[in-house]
Symmetry: none
Subunit: 539 residues, 2 copies
């Protein structure tokens, strides 16, 4: 069957850079461009050459991408010729094969924000695209506020885009700049634009997520005939973000009617790298990945309900809309008080522990988990503590070391310069293979500041564990979550610690106590034990 | 104009409880039910009575809600009568006015997961709803896997829901259990179901966000005729979550065609509490609020681009699809504090502090809050700390006492009976009206057990504050939440403490430091200062 070509245009490096709290360096832009190119996108918009030093530096050494590398800018300003507008000149001087210029399609914005006449605006747009056509560049017109403009004054909005199209723009990109247009309106307006004479294979769609429908709006535009979709990785972007390509790509590739009607540049093999691409971007930006993200989130294929888990064991398609491996993700069957033995065996198998269905230890493990959860433990995320608990019941957990006692002190007082400063100090006494180790550590951050009692304990604990030292030396405490459970006078503190080793393995452990330091200490002990089990240490 | 009634059904406490990492206590369910009821939802589904101890406890003392409080369960099992099924019995015994029972609408699941015949399944469903009808309960049929079932075998999927409807179910809820159905398919199938004879005002829609289109799918179902929408606050739920009511509510209330066609139970006044409701749930669950969340996210009305910001200054509607105040949110415009100030005055007025619109302290307070938030502080819930900060800038905060130094020690060792026990001890030195107080306290729970370093500090601090002692004696630390912010090497710990006094007043304070004990101590100091201000203490 003949499929139609659908083009993907990435604006992570331009519109994505408008995310609050995100600031790319030129070097990061290089790295991200490589990730995007690996996915197989058709266009990569790099930024606005001349608008700021980062973009100017980035375009001076553009990445070598298979995708069309694109510069963004704006149509020529009023009162200058296209030749003599230095802002437009800087964009064109970047020398990219494709150039995307923004212009206003909403009459209200022309008069209110630009302060020029409607005819002047149309003329500026026409002249700019005629100039690009003369230079032989592939030209895209970013029709800002198109949908709001079309609702207010359809004749003018159409006049603007037809002027750009007639002057030689290859693509007319209909932008829902404020993100307020719902999918049904997008579908209707795209249909009307095509009826007005601009063919669908010259139309792009650019949506924002202000009503949580950016993905659906993009799909609606494709169904109505648009053949270019713009978006960002992980839905980065101003305010609530842009249409999320991390979601759109698998939907277009795996789900009908899209999969059978369209070809996109992304191969099934590249799709298996999607989860990793999403994580790389989060890591680069030091953002916490969204667990609930469609397709790529850590929870996207997590089956917590016991009814679901037992059906999944019979056939994964009972509760999964796609195979998680297709996007490089995996199934998680967490253990919680809602789950039963089928969850348990599936989860143990994932940890490499095979247990026969009739093993009486299974019932003991479920009992023990219920008992611990009633005390405040939570094993949904703390997979490493879960494994240790199961191993203990199965007789598969060596007794590597014993903690005899510890003491931690936090002190706050004025220093010589009369500033209030803190100091934490921990002493930990352990016994390893008959030998006693007495370790002491302060808690110091990279800048010499105090990081608190849990950090001091972790350092003292990992300072010298005798024969195990080499295995635990590179463990780092990377995240730390605390909450009070139970409430009232019986409140206890639950601590979940994420640890990471030098090879980038990450694991979560849990500790519970009325005393936050004790709870943290228990989680730290689990973190070390899990690493020792994983590395095959002998007791 | 005559509007149609559209009903909102909340399942935060049932399907939302399936979120990985989320575990509600019965007390938290009470608190969340109150928040949901304040928004004006029509139905609040509380959980599954009998399925686990938490839900059984919650239904034994159901919350007094204006909304219809609903119990969830499943249709009777094969081989029992509806009268003799103890699982169904436990659900009905909860005595709720409305009952929602799940049953399978997908032939593949009936034979694969249940292992019964298609006819047996229909009969179980029919019998269950006939039983509910005899008992006079408002009955909802949760048609599990309806959309996948309809795609595979439309005749059977329809037979199942018609059996429930004919037997007396008030609502047939069409569930996209696996979350893989796209909006256009939902619209088509809802249209066909209505054509098959079930009126739209008896149809509900229940979607999941596995393709990031749960909100759009719900809207598509409403456009096709369904008149009940199910979802959760903040989109909690299994895997990628349920349809997000925090997004759907403002869209239905503010945006056409929905706003002009439908009445929902949420008033414009309740809508202004939406952002706060969303944050309260996140705080309760100790989840990091999504900055990019539609309508309620901290970035939802943040205008980072310079072009956008200057247009916003001319007219906010240039780059905003709704007025942020409508959902209790606010505009963030870097370089301009104008927007923040009117919000600030309103919040100060709530705290009983009147400030003139032209008071230069307003700008200073906004600056100070921004500065502190950049350090990791959060003032959304910590209203007491916010008030203290504002009072300090306004010259309205007396200097009641000064902390000279403190020291806290946690020790864990074996006692005489060879049990591991902990002991925390704190020394706090304060200066009150020129007099020095040196206090020491252990940390002991009601049962004599150790409650940890923060408890010891709170006790030592409140042991003797000289002239203020009578005012602070009855302060109790009732909740304690900890979060790591910033990430990486610059991570800091944020502690939010809830305190309560003998008259049942409750207030929240915040502290931030790389050291968790320091952060807690700062929050404790704020808690005491706020109480002294509130009780009119003199410095």
């Amino acid at each position: 069957m003949n499929k139609e070509r659908l083009y993907l245009y990435d604006t992570t490096l331009r519109d994505g850079a408008q995310t609050q709290g995100v600031q790319f360096s030129a070097k990061e832009k290089q790295q991200i461009a490589a990730v995007l190119d690996g996915l197989g996108l058709d266009y990569i918009e790099g930024g606005w050459p001349g608008a700021n030093p980062t973009d100017t530096e980035f375009f001076a050494n553009p990445p070598a991408t298979r995708a069309r590398f694109t510069a963004f800018g704006m149509t020529k300003r009023q009162g200058r010729s296209a030749d003599n507008d230095d802002v437009l000149g800087a964009v064109l001087n970047a020398g990219t094969a494709a150039v995307c210029l923004v212009g206003k399609a909403h009459d209200f914005h022309v008069t209110t924000a630009l302060g020029i006449t409607l005819a002047e605006n149309v003329d500026n747009i026409r002249t700019s695209f005629a100039h690009l056509a003369r230079l032989g560049r592939e030209a895209l017109f970013d029709a800002e506020h198109f949908f709001d403009g079309y609702k207010a004054n359809p004749a003018y909005a159409c006049e603007v885009i037809h002027a750009a199209y007639a002057a030689g723009a290859r693509w007319i990109v209909l932008c829902d700049t404020n993100g307020g247009t719902l999918p049904e309106d997008i579908a209707r307006i795209v249909t009307e634009v095509i009826a007005s004479g601009i063919p669908g294979d010259h139309l792009g769609i650019h949506t924002h997520n202000d009503t949580e429908t950016a993905v659906a709006g993009s799909l609606a535009a494709v169904m109505a005939g648009a053949r270019q979709v713009q978006g960002t990785l992980n839905g980065l972007g101003e305010r609530c973000g842009n249409a999320n390509l991390t979601t759109l790509i698998p939907t277009l590739l795996l789900k009908d009617p899209y999969a059978s009607r369209f070809d996109i540049g992304v191969t099934p093999d590249a799709l298996r790298g999607l989860r990793r691409a999403s994580r790389l971007l989060d890591d680069m930006l030091n953002r916490v990945p969204s667990k609930q993200a469609a397709y790529v989130g850590a929870s996207a294929f997590a089956h917590k309900s016991g009814l679901h888990a037992s059906a999944i064991a019979k056939d994964p398609s009972t509760y999964e809309h796609i195979d998680p491996a297709a996007v490089g993700n995996m199934r998680i069957v967490p253990m919680s008080n809602q789950a039963g033995q089928s969850n348990l065996r599936a989860r143990l198998a994932e940890a490499g522990i095979t247990v026969a269905a009739d093993d009486p230890a299974l019932a003991r493990i479920v009992e023990r988990i219920k008992e611990r959860e009633a005390q405040g433990y939570a094993y949904d995320t703390a997979q490493a503590s879960f494994e240790l608990l199961a191993r203990a019941e199965l007789g598969l957990l060596p007794n590597f070391f014993e903690v005899k006692r510890y003491r931690v002190t936090v002190e706050r007082r004025r220093n010589k310069r009369n500033q209030m400063v803190s100091l934490s100090e921990a002493v930990v006494v352990t016994k390893v293979q008959g030998q006693k180790f007495l370790n002491v550590s302060e808690s110091l951050g990279p800048d010499g500041s105090d990081r608190g009692p849990v950090n001091a304990l972790a350092r003292a604990l990992a300072k010298d564990l005798g024969p195990y030292q080499a295995m635990i030396e590179d463990i780092e405490l990377v995240d730390f979550k605390v909450r009070i459970t139970g409430g009232g006078t019986e409140a206890v503190t639950r601590v979940i610690i994420d640890s990471e080793d030098g090879q980038g393995n990450r694991w979560s452990t849990v500790g519970v106590s009325a005393n936050i330091v004790d709870a943290s200490f228990d989680a730290l002990i689990d973190a070390i034990n899990w690493k020792l089990v994983r590395d095959g240490a002998q007791a």
